[in-house]
Amino acid sequence: MSLQATIYLVVGLTFALYIGIAIWSRAGSTSDFYVAGSGVHPVLNGMATGADWMSAASFISMAGLIAGMGYGGALFLMGWTGGYVLLAMLLAPYLRKFGKYTVPQFFGDRYYSKAASSVAVICLIIASTTYIIGQMTGVGVAFSRFLGVSHQVGVFVGMGIVFMYAVFGGMKGITYTQVAQYCVLIFAYTIPAIFISMALTGNPIPQLGLGGEFHGTGVSLLAKVDQVATDLGFPQYTTSTRISTLNMFVYTFSLMIGTAGLPHGIIRFFTVPKVRDARMSAGWALVFIGILYTTAPGVAAMAKLNLHATVNKAVKSGGDLFAPENSVLYDERPDWMKRWEVTGLLKWEDKNGDGRIQYYNDKNPPAGAVAAGWAGNELTVNRDIIVLANPEIARLPNWVIALVAAGGLAAALSTAAGLLLAISSAISHDLLKDMWMPDLTEKGELLAGKIAMACAIVVAGWLGLNPPDFAAGTVAIAFGLAASSIFPALMMGIFNKKMNKEGAMCGMIAGIGFTMIYVFAHKGLFFIKGTEFLDLFGGKPNFFLGIEPNAIGGIGALVNFAVAWIVSKMTPDPPEHIQHLVEDVRIPRGAKAVDGTHIH
């Protein structure tokens, strides 16, 4: 069977599996949808949370970015796992005791005002829409390869599929479907990693293989990667910091607190049966997320090595990297490169006219390259394709390549659909029904939700065609927006009983405002190309302490905390009953079933 046919078959089978499970265990009522976790074993619940949470950014994009960034890529790894520690210790048990379904409901009650709830909803919509832009970028990559079309067409097809998936998708909320998606996703991620680790190091476990020996050479794998990278003018793999130590610190911090502030990360902890379970399920979720996250560094370093070895024969043989015959002839390039050229995400340009592929860092050209007459880097590989191309680069069997395609689609679709549901219910229920149009019928509410979803997809898809960054980079910005707005207000709502509505609202507005201005100055107003306004700030990128826009949410969160604290000192304390409510939330006993019925 041809590769393309195998891909269709495997993707088709996995989708049939999800739909089959969805029909078999159909969610009966509103509370079934949200509390799907309650009758489920905590381990299965952890898998479902993992599928919910790991998106195109984790699956498709992250390892490719780490491959490019080296050591600095650890900010994604630590950021997107360390946030679960904060969730377990600072938020999850208390949100569960609070006994509501959604973040805006928490804000409405704890900060005793619809205004506070509206501010939270708007912050959530901004962060979630940004998140979906990143997802659409990843979905576009997956579909362009899956269908053998350009990236643009891939994004359009992806928009349609995601929309259908979200509209028909009460199935999103069914725990067993998500368990199945998790299984597909994790097999798809780890199986190629095991094959590749085995081939390169003789150790089948990528976490150990990465620390192992590059087969039969007596040199460790990482030392080999370091050497190839530096010989070709790239920074040393194991020590290259992301811009600066301070930037990497703030970036990691931003992702961690963003994890504890995004709705799809926290929503499940609202509805676990007990407060005790809320703490445990954060642990189980992190176990299942950790399987992918601890594999990713191996995938990254090995893919980097394999990519270089594909275009330069001296990488494996240990010969002269700059000898003309060691650069692979373009006409003899492997099939996977041809397949990715169709998508436009991999490009070759013969700058020195020798018909061979030279892939190196021409911004810091090594002496050997200059002497050999290399006239610039000739191969451009979009980092978002690394994970999907990885099994092809390593020449793994067709069924593995097909499995990875299915895994990428599962990751991207499940999270994108979940976020769309969150946006649609935030607009139709929390904003329209609860605040602006209390007379709205249930039908009207559902319609408004679908329109909101369609708008969000069109906006995100359009921006996803010219994305502000790679998928994981855009998603990092979304985390920064959530970090600077939602997390501080949630945390202060629990740990500072004197925090009042004025403080919380001013803090959120100041935090997300600061973050948005900094991000938009670099990436354009609402990410529209050509509307950057860096000139207002002296024209130099990363002008605030050398911190990049993707990381600025960490500083935005500090602004939020500071403004909230100062404003709360200048305005009246919250009413007595709210202070008692906070005291009550801190004690596990007496946790009631979740209320606050919610549509969808």
């Binding site: 210790m89 990691t252 005790r276």
Partner: protein, 85 residues
Amino acid sequence: MNEDAGKAYWYATLKLIAGGLVVWFVVSYGFGILLAPALNGIKLGGYPMGFWWAQQGSMYVFIALIFIYAKLMGNLDKKFDVHEE
């Protein structure tokens, strides 16, 4: 539950959280970022140690940390008689 016991429970909770956050900070921001260049001098198999903490070790500690915290919190709930059921 009287007010003093409530205060004592909350104080004990905060102490536990503070301890957890110290570990959380030390393994990631400490070993993984600030001290990574110094730790890279030590090798853990083929891994430079700072790199290992940043791309492997911190995550293993995070997972263990949540389970230990959940267990200790459970003990605390029972000791102060605020556990569920």
